[in-house]
Every structure is written in C-alpha cells, then in structure tokens.
Symmetry: C2
Subunit: 348 residues, 2 copies
C-alpha cells in the first residue's frame, strides 16, 4: 500500500506540526441521515454519490466499506483515512479515495458525505479552497441539504453551518516535559478551540501529541473558522518552540540523555508496547528537531508512529496477532526500520 | 594503577562467581588492640610489622594509611584492597600490598594485622594454604597472640579462633529475577553461613550480587571452615544455573529483551547513577553468560562494575565531582568502555 500523501512529509513547521486536516460534512436533501435511514435509503445515497464521483473524478477509487476486511479497516483507521465510526459500522458505506489519498470521502458515515482533505505539515493557509473545489463539483450534481438561516444541515448539531472541522496534529513534547501542557490547553483563551490526544494520554516525553481543532462550525464562514484554528496553532507552535529553547539551554545533558536512551531502546528492545514506542518516538523526534540526532529525518518518524500500530503490524504479519506477539513484532519492525535509516544515512 | 589480580578474570565458575577472598585476623601479644591503643603503641606495632614484612617480602609495597589521600583510599576501598574501617580511620595504619595485590595486609585496622588474599573467580579449593604460608613466615618473626583453648585472639569475638573469613562474591541474577533469592538466602540450611550485598540492595535484574561467607571462626579448623563455605557456594551456583536454564527456556524473549535494553542504555545514556549502572551491568553479564551477547567478555564486566564507582571516576577526572557530575562521567566512562569492547571484537 502506497503511503497516503499526508504521511509523505512536509517542511512547513514540521518541527512542531505533524499534519493538517480538513473535514466537511454534507447531506443529500430528502433522504434521512444515515443513523436513521433504512438499508434501501443507504443504498440509494451510495449509488447517487458513486455516480457523481465517477462522473467528476473517474480516477478515484470507490470502495465498499463492508467489502473491506476488519484488518484493512483497522489499517485505514490508523492511516486516518476513515473514522472510528466507519471502521466499526461499515454496512452500506463507501470509502472514496483520490490518488495518494489526499482526499477521502466517507459515504453513509454519520453524514451522507464526509469530505476529508489530509495534508502533511502545517498547511492551513488556503488549502480549504482546494477542498471546496472538490465539494462544489459534487454539489452541482447532488445538491446538498442547506438551510438559509443555519447553513449546511448535518446529523450532529455541532456540525451544522459550514460543516467544517479544521484540525492540526501538533507535537508538543517540550511543553509536555515542562508540565505546563494541561494547564495551557485547559485555559486556552479561544474557547472555540478544542484539544484532543492523538494516541491517548501519556505522562513523560511521550505526552505531547495533541490535535487542535475548531469546536463548532455554526455562525461563521470557512475563512474565519480557518484563520481561528490557524491563529491558535501559530500561538501553540511559538510556545512549544520557546519551551524547547528553554529545555536545551537549561537541561542540555538531561535532554540529550533522554533522547539517546529513547533511541537506544527503540534500536535494541525485543518487546515494546505501543505506549512505550510512542513515548520513545516522541523523544527521538524532539531530539531530531533539536539537532541532537541530526541523522534522523524528522518526517520519517511519523510513518514509524503509524506503521507500528496493531493493524499495520498484523497486515505485515498476514495474520491476527496476540498482544504479546504484537509487542514482539513491533520491536522487530521498529528495530529494522531504524537500522535501515541509520544505514541509509551512512551509505548516502 | 595496575588492575589487582582478583580483577584480572578467571575461568573457574566465572558464570556465577566473581571472586573469592580469604581474610585472616592476627594480633601481636602484649599490645592493646588498635581500638584501645594509644598512638605510641600503634606506631610500635606498625614498625614491628613493617620490619618483618621487609625482611620476608622485600618487594612488597608498604604504604602509610594517613599518607594516602582520601580519594586514593576510596579507590583502594572500591578495589576491595582496604576495608571501610581503614578508609575512614587511616591514622597509624599501614597498607601492605604484594605484587598485583594478591595479598594485602592491613595493619592497625580492627586487629593489628589483617591478611587478605584476593582471587578472581571460584578458587576455594586449596588457596588457603598459600595464605597460611605468608602468615606463618610473619608469625615466625612476630609471634601472634594465641590461646590454647580459644585459638588466635582478635579484637572482635566473632573472629576469635582461626581468625579466618572465607568469602565468595556471587552473581545470582536469575534467582533474583525469579524472586526466590531472599527466601533462599534467609532459609539457608547451614546457619554458619552469612550473606551480604555487594553494592547494596536492588530489586530487578540488578539484584543478585551476593557475598557468601562463614559467620564465626571459633570451634573449627581452617580446612573445615573452608569446605563449609565451598559446599554452600557450590549449592548456590547449582541453584542459580538451574534458574538460568528455566529463565532461558520459559522467558526467552523477555530475557533477551531485558539484556539488549540494558546494553543499549549502557551504550547510549548520558547520565547514569551507580545503582542503575549496577542493574544494567548485571543484566549484560547475565546475557553474556547465556550467550545472548556472545561478544561480551564476562570477566571484563567486573572491572566496569568497579571502574564506574565514585572514587575511580574522581581519580580519572583528577578532582572532586558533585553527584550529578559523577552520573555524567559514569555514563561517559561506561559508554567509551563498551565502545572499545565492541570495536576490539570487531577488529579481532
């Protein structure tokens, strides 16, 4: 499977930002929302959308959710191509992918259509325009449910309006180490901004993968929503960079020690849980950004972070793995990847 | 400083036994024990012993305890050449060393003379004969305090009789990991045997450095005492080897993981406490014995274990080091030693 576009790396603020993502919720008029619809209605919606997509984007892949194996759905979920909801409820859904999975359209998830636009690095400047182009080409054929006063209608109230959710995945290890991350996020001045974890909570260097997005989509237009997220992200990036400078200035040896320990364990362990690997990859990523590990291509670590998830490991193994087997396969996978990285650099 | 003989390594049961040691307490008649003597008496005793040693062993080095700097005393203590008592109370003492420090005679420590015979590996078979030869050559000149009923008289009652303490330093990591070590030692069938730690207590793989010795020296002769210690050591060695086989058979991946992690951290950390280093060196030593790290010369690790102690680090640095500086120097020392080891092997 080719790497999705968003996992291919980008230079824009890549020291702090892993990826940017847009999501647009749309529904067809005169059809019940997927959560309330019967089988026949879901099939009708899927057929309408498929026809429109094939007309506008003949090269895009249209996959039936229930024809994807649970393992492939898990892998798609880990690559952020589909939602947890679609992964667990594939009946009557479609997963539509543009080349390199820049765009993914989920059909009959919570809404009839969820457009996703996935980008590497920090790319919130005008990327929404590209998404809107895709959306409007389909809107011309399908016509989306729209209310003059509320805007686009969606199954969940928080999405009514623009139907847009803009999010960036941030890596904030220095704020995490400094211990100020929870307070910083809880007291964030813009109350229209929401924070979530990437892979659950941690407490050491592993802490610090944070997803920032807008909370509601109503009562605003797309450029305004976009710049609200952009502003908050900019501010957090600046805070994290300042915290990194502090860290390197006042705790040089401690940070260097932690980074080298993390890399040593990733390079040599024979068993490793997902939580431990996340923690060490976070430390190595920080080390690579700070120049402690200049041999490490920062962008590559994100692919490791995704590739070591249970679905990916099981796809690679070609079978179901018990948790202890996963820990063994994960350690082997990470070890070999890191060895390759180091050897690539040595040869190059 | 040349490595003492006991740190040069030996093949005898070196998978479990680090070193063997004999100690013989003797006193001159008609002189108060050092703990009760005045300065004049200590000077007299020291002069008598020095004259006798120079007569019998003209090549041995005679050092005045109070002329050794605190740092050198610390280093001697870490090399097990002098006792904690002499390290802290050097006034009026002598430290007499044979070539390679096979023998060390401490004068005016708790007793007028303490003969020490330090050997690498498991060498309890007949080594006491060699010690007695040294002792009797000095006894002919000095005459030691002896009571027909009690035997040799000593300042502490537990040493009266033969004045002999036989000890072996054991590495019992598999019993430590299995958790059975405390119970095994507490319920040891021979109540004449005593167990102590080498560098304090630990709780993971680091646990397992244990010193085994006879408890009292009265009411027995030297060959009997010696074989009592020998028997108990033999039994513990067998128990540890069985535990290692169990470990490797049932927890192969877990053990391999722990060993590689330990080596990775020793090879890459930039800060390391003495306790952490001991724990990792123990795991690496186990790995070397089990063939998980075939490149590691087992005997060498003992020298690392001694060389990373605070006195050695400060001697190398040429100055007093704060604890956090020691942790940094220790990590650097261990890292470079391990790199040398690996490179030596690669070149050879």
């Amino acid at each position: 499977m080719q790497q999705p576009f968003w996992l291919q790396g980008d230079e824009s603020a890549h020291d702090v930002v892993l990826s940017s993502r847009y999501r647009l919720a749309r529904n067809l008029p005169g059809q019940p929302f997927p959560g309330r619809s019967d089988w026949r209605s879901r099939v009708q919606v899927a057929a309408l959308v498929e026809r429109a997509v094939k007309h506008e984007f003949p090269h895009w892949k249209v996959l039936k959710g229930e024809e994807l194996s649970p393992l492939i759905r898990e892998v798609f979920f880990e690559k952020h191509l589909i939602s947890a909801h679609l992964k667990d409820n594939p009946e009557g859904t479609l997963v539509i992918l543009s080349p390199e999975a820049r765009f993914a359209i989920l059909v009959n998830e919570e809404d009839h259509l969820r457009f996703q636009f996935l980008l590497p690095g920090f790319q919130l400047a005008g990327a929404w325009r590209e998404l809107l182009k895709v959306e409007s080409r389909l809107e011309r054929l399908l016509g989306f449910a729209f209310h003059e006063q509320y805007g686009y209608l969606t199954s969940c109230l928080t999405n009514v309006g623009t139907g847009l959710r803009v999010s960036v995945m941030l890596h904030l290890p220095a704020l995490g180490v400094a211990g100020s991350l929870p307070a910083t996020l809880n007291n964030w001045p813009d109350k229209g901004i929401e924070f979530r974890g990437m892979f659950g909570e941690g407490s050491s260097l592993g802490e610090g993968f944070v997803q920032l997005s807008n909370k509601v989509t109503l009562g605003s237009d797309i450029p305004t929503l976009n710049s609200r997220v952009l502003c908050s992200a900019d501010e957090l990036i600046a805070l994290e960079r300042r915290a990194r400078t502090e860290l390197v200035t006042h705790f040089t040896t401690k940070v260097t020690d932690s980074v080298h320990r993390a890399l040593a364990l990733l390079s040599e362990a024979r068993l490793m849980s997902s939580a431990e690997a996340t923690m060490h990859l976070s430390a190595v990523r920080l080390g690579a950004c700070l120049g402690i590990l200049p041999q490490f291509p920062v962008r590559y670590l994100l692919r490791l972070l995704v590739g070591m998830r249970p679905g990916h490991l099981q796809l690679q193994a070609g079978r179901f793995l018990e948790p202890h087997e996963r820990d063994e396969n994960r350690a082997t996978f990470i070890r070999s990847q890191i060895r390759n990285l180091v050897e690539d650099k040595r040869d190059g």
